[in-house]
Each structure stands twice: as C-alpha cells, then as structure tokens.
C-alpha cells in the first residue's frame, strides 16, 4: 500500500512540473502584455511585473481596424475552408469506401499517392500564382488546405467502410433512393462522429495557418490573424509603420507590450474554446493514429 501511494505522489509531482512547463510560457505572455512598457524595458519580461498597465490593450482598442479585419479574414477562411473541405473529403471518401464501386482501387491509388509524393514548393507556387493567378486572393488561403494530403480521406473512408453496415445502403437503394439521397439522408447522419473529428482538426488547421499567407499574400489588407501576428513578430517596425495601430505622429507606441498583447488576442480564443472541444479532439487523434 505504501509503495503504491509513493508512486502516486511521484507521478503527481512530475505531472505538476509538466503542467507548469506547458502553461508557463502562456502565463508569461499574458503577464507581459499587461506590464507597463517602461517597467518592461527596464526589468524585462516577467511573470510578476512590478507595475501593471493596460496601455497595450487600450492602444490596440483605439485602432483595432487591422485586428478586426484580420479576425474577419481568419473566421471567413476557417468557416469556408472547413465546410468545403469537409464536403469534398466526404464526397471523395464515400465512393472509395463502397466495395462495389467500379475502378475503386485505381481511384484510391490516385488519392493516396499524393500522400507519398509531392511536387514541392516551387511548382505548387507557380501553379497557384502563374496558372491561376491567385496571389493576394482569399482563395489562396483556402484552396491549398482543402484536402490536406489525403490523410482525412483515409480516416473517413475507413469510417464509412467499417461503421456503416452495407445492408442499410442496399435496402435504401431497393426502396428506390438514389445515390445522392443515400449519401445525404443516410451516410452523413450516421457519420457525425467522424465529421466532427475531421471538421475540428480542419478548423484548427485553418485557424492556425500562416504558411499559405506567408507564401501567397503580400497585401497587408488580406492578412489573416496569424499572418498579422507573424509580420509583427518578424518585424517590430511593422507596428510603427502604420498597418496596425495609430497613425498619429507623436504618440509613442508601447511596442513590446503591444506585440505581446497581439499574441494574447491571437491565442486566447483557442485556449478558451479548448475545454469544450478537448474530448472530441483527443478522440480524433486516437482514431487517426490507430486507423491511419
């Protein structure tokens, strides 16, 4: 009994350390964003700032148009990307899961080969910018992520193939339902767990995406939240150079704290939503890992 309790104590102590390790950087971020700029410049980033100030947030509030726009773009791209991606994935995965689908194996090969081999950045970039002229369009933020390398298709195909009994499809078809009707009325409602899982993962992917913006977007009006954050992180002058924030000459900008306040604005929504989707996310990870 004693050694059992000892193991528990050791485990708890280690996990408390792990918890602190995981959360500490976020706490540091939040605390520095409410630090007084001068205090920060003198004493550096700290968990316990000696002087607290909400100047950074007040500053961002005063001229929030760039942030609001970036949020709107991120939300739009995430919504459209997730819905379109989910639909196109399900539409592709369902026929592949049907054992009676003609040319099923060659089709599956066409899909899954894309997971193994790709053209690389340069040709992809040229296809999107030269052939389709999508540089500086919202489409460039949505299209590249739609099918995310076949992985989600694999997940859904497995789900459709194993969790939906073929007799249901057969009897619906005997009752005169067409394929689209079967898909819409039977397959989709029965597949809500996998749709939720893949949808959630796609939402997070779109929400966090900065790579496509980095490559295809140069117009700061089209920056998503992550691209705005990226620009401010890479280039502190970006704050002063008028795209974010006040353009009035003479007001000094609390650059460091505003930077961190921006990051807080970027990360806090996700952290707040996390407890609600945590369960599905873990389930999705496990399904994805075991069956993928």
């Amino acid at each position: 009994m004693k050694s059992h309790q000892l193991t528990q104590w050791v485990a708890h102590i280690l996990f408390i350390a792990v918890t602190i390790g995981c959360l500490f950087p976020f706490l540091l971020l939040i605390m520095t964003s409410i630090t007084d700029e001068n205090t920060l410049l003198q004493k550096g980033y700290s968990i316990f700032p000696s002087k607290i100030s909400l100047d950074a947030y007040a500053y961002l509030w005063r001229d929030s148009s760039a942030i609001v726009r970036a949020y709107a773009i991120t939300i739009f791209v995430t919504l459209v990307g997730t819905v379109a991606g989910l639909l196109i994935t399900a539409l592709l995965a369902y026929p592949l899961s049907r054992k009676d689908m003609p040319a099923r194996n060659p089709l599956a090969f066409i899909v899954f080969f894309t997971m193994l081999f790709n053209g690389g950045l340069v040709p992809t970039y040229l296809v999107y910018t030269q052939l389709f002229d999508m540089k500086n369009t919202l489409l460039a933020l949505i299209l590249p992520g739609l099918l995310t390398n076949g992985f989600f298709i694999l997940l859904m195909r497995t789900f459709f193939g194993t969790s939906i009994p073929t007799p249901i499809i057969e009897s619906a078809s005997m009752d005169g339902a067409g394929e689209f009707r079967i898909f819409y009325r039977i397959i989709l409602p029965l597949s809500l767990p996998i749709l939720a899982t893949v949808g959630l993962m796609q939402t997070i992917m779109y929400w966090n995406d900065w790579y496509n913006g980095l490559i295809y977007i140069t117009d700061s009006k089209l920056f998503s939240l992550q691209n705005l954050l990226n620009r401010i992180l890479m280039n502190a002058q970006f704050l002063q150079s008028n795209s974010v924030g006040n353009q009035n000459v003479g007001t000094s900008i609390p650059t460091e704290t505003v930077r961190m306040a921006m990051a807080v604005i970027g990360v806090v929504p996700l952290l707040c939503a996390y407890p609600f989707f945590q369960k599905y996310f873990v389930k999705g990870l496990v399904i994805g890992a075991i069956k993928g």
């Binding site: 528990q8 485990a11 792990v18 918890t19 390790g21 995981c22 959360l23 540091l28 971020l29 410049l41 550096g44 980033y45 196109i88 539409l91 592709l92 026929p95 592949l96 049907r98 689908m101 066409i110 899909v111 894309t114 790709n118 053209g119 690389g120 950045l121 340069v122 040709p123 992809t124 970039y125 040229l126 296809v127 030269q130 389709f132 739609l146 099918l147 057969e170 078809s173 067409g178 394929e179 689209f180 997070i204 929400w207 966090n208 790579y211 490559i215 992180l233 890479m234 460091e256 961190m260 990051a263 970027g266 990360v267 996700l270 945590q278 996310f281 873990v282 496990v286 890992a289 075991i290």
Partner: protein, 311 residues
C-alpha cells in the same frame, strides 16, 4: 442488390454508378490541380527557368541546377541539419512520450489524469507563430526573461540567443518536445489503456514489481504502435516542420548554420532570392529521397507485419 451489377456492360455500370463518379469528381479535380499538376512542374529543376517564358518555354539545362546546389556547402549543411534534427526528434520524443504515457496511466485519480492529459495537448494546438512569440518572450536579447531575470539570478551574463547559432540545436529540440510530445503521448496512452488488465493481474500474483510490469508487459504490448509511428516519421525524415525552423528562430540569417533545413532553404531560395531553378532542384531532391524512404520504411514494416504497413 448492389452485387448484381458487377458483370454487365460498361454502359450499364456507368448508368448505375454515375452518381458515385460525380461525387468523386470535385476531389479528383482538386488533387489534379493541387497535387498532380505540380508534379509535372518538377521539370523546372532541369530548366533555366525564365519567368516571362514560362515553364514550357524555358531552356533545358540538364543537371546544371543540381550541380550548383551540390557544389555549395548549403547542400551538405541543410541535408545534415534536416536528418540530424529529425533523428533526434524521433528518438527523444519517443522516449519522453512513452514515458509520460505510462506514467499518466499510473495516475489513479481520474480527474487529475484527465486534467494532465488536456494540459499536455495545449502546446500542440498553438500555431508556430504563437510559439515564436513565446520563445521571444523567454530569449529576447534585451528584455527576455532568460537574460533579464533567470541568468542574473544565477550570476551568469546575458547571452545573445538570436545571434549565436550554437544554442539553437538545443532550443529547437526543446521547443519541438514542448509542442509535439503531448500529441504522441495521447496516442501511446490509447495503446497503453488498450492493454488487457488480466496481464497485470497475473503479473501481480506472480509478484512482479511496477517496473517489471512496465518492462515486461506494457512496453512489449505497445511495440506495434511504436513501430508504425516511428516508421511513419522515418519516412518523412527528409521533411521538416517549416514553422519550427523558420518561425521560432525568427528567420534570422546569423543562425542559419544550425537552423537551415531543406524546407527553409527551398523557401528562401524561392521567395527571397527568386532562384527558381536551384530551389526546385532542392525540392526535387527532397521529394525523391523522401519518396524512397517512405517505400523503404513501408517495406520494412510490411516484412515485420503485413497489417501495419501503409500499402
């Protein structure tokens, strides 16, 4: 009745199955544009690419782009960095994730166990841009917590982190652990939970200690999951997490010797230098070697156990 449609003429098959083909169409069209068209674009690696003349109009130059690439030190450095980092990540992450998963399984209090599990996953959800901010808050030269608070406390002088490449192998490895171990841990935890409790009961009756149980039951029984996860990662050893190597060092040129990998090299050659030929040569080198590695690792898995193989 679906099975009755197997043998009739092709027209009948089409008549019966056209809706399914219509469903597949958008996805296939997308893959054609997003994935297959760029594969043909790989011929740029063998061309003297001229923006105005386009891919087909540019002159063929054979292997010149590859010659340039492999003549520079860059090719060696980026290949070395890519492989060494990934190898280190695979091994270290595996050991820590399996360790944490086993330990998490030992936590008997359900509420705490769930709490710990949720917390270790949080870094996995955050974009690399945010991770860049977090690292900057810790390591910034003038104001970072490390230089302003922790090092002075230990009586050590401030370190210019973003100027000295020698620290970055450790920093990047730590950041990678911090971000990804939670994900791997959840997967291994699922495998550990799946183990039949009867094994442990039998072992306890035989007087096996906790350590012995872990060594002789838990680890051997999760080896299949470990092996497939690891082989998948080995198959991608020529690709790196672009965000980690670009975003976290803040794209700092001075750190290139230890932070430049194939992915960041291809990106910089393309978007900063506009060197299409060299960039696509490096990209093709990466794709081909990566492809071969996937095939080899899949072959290894399928020889051990057919069911664990990808194809």
């Amino acid at each position: 009745m679906l099975t009755s449609a197997i043998k009739p003429g092709k027209l009948r098959v089409l008549a019966r199955y056209w809706p399914l083909f219509v469903m597949v169409l958008p996805g296939l069209l997308y893959l054609l544009i997003n994935n297959y068209l760029p594969m043909f674009g790989m011929i740029i690696a063998f061309k003297d690419y001229n923006y105005a003349r386009g891919i087909l109009g540019s002159d063929w130059i054979g292997f010149k782009n590859f010659e340039y690439l492999f003549k520079t030190d860059d090719a060696f450095i980026i290949t070395r960095n890519t492989i060494l980092y990934n190898a280190a990540f695979i091994i270290i992450n595996l050991v820590i994730a399996v360790g944490v998963a086993i330990l998490l399984n030992e936590v008997k209090n359900k509420i705490f166990a769930r709490f710990y599990q949720s917390v270790i996953l949080i870094p996995y959800l955050i974009s690399m841009v945010i991770v860049g901010y977090l690292v900057l808050a810790l390591l910034s030269g003038e104001n970072g917590m490390m230089n302003k608070q922790i090092l002075p406390m230990l009586g050590i002088e401030a370190i210019p982190w973003y100027n000295d490449p020698k620290y970055w192998p450790y920093i990047l490895t730590l950041v990678n652990i911090w971000k990804n171990v939670g994900y791997l841990c959840v997967i291994y935890l699922a495998a550990v939970i799946g183990i039949d409790p009867e094994y442990y009961e039998a072992a306890r009756i035989d007087g096996a200690s906790k350590i012995q149980q872990i060594k002789n039951i838990t680890i051997p029984l999760i080896i299949p999951v470990i092996s497939i996860m690891t082989l998948l990662q080995i198959g991608r050893i020529f690709y790196s997490d672009f965000g980690l190597f670009y975003q976290v060092p803040l794209d700092t040129g001075a750190l290139a010797p230890t932070t430049n990998v194939i992915d960041t090299y291809v990106y910089r050659a393309l978007l900063n230098l506009g060197d299409f030929g060299m960039s696509s040569a490096a990209g093709l080198y990466q794709s081909l070697v990566g492809f071969i590695l996937v095939l080899v690792s899949n072959y290894v898995v399928s020889r051990r156990n057919r069911d664990n193989a990808l194809f």
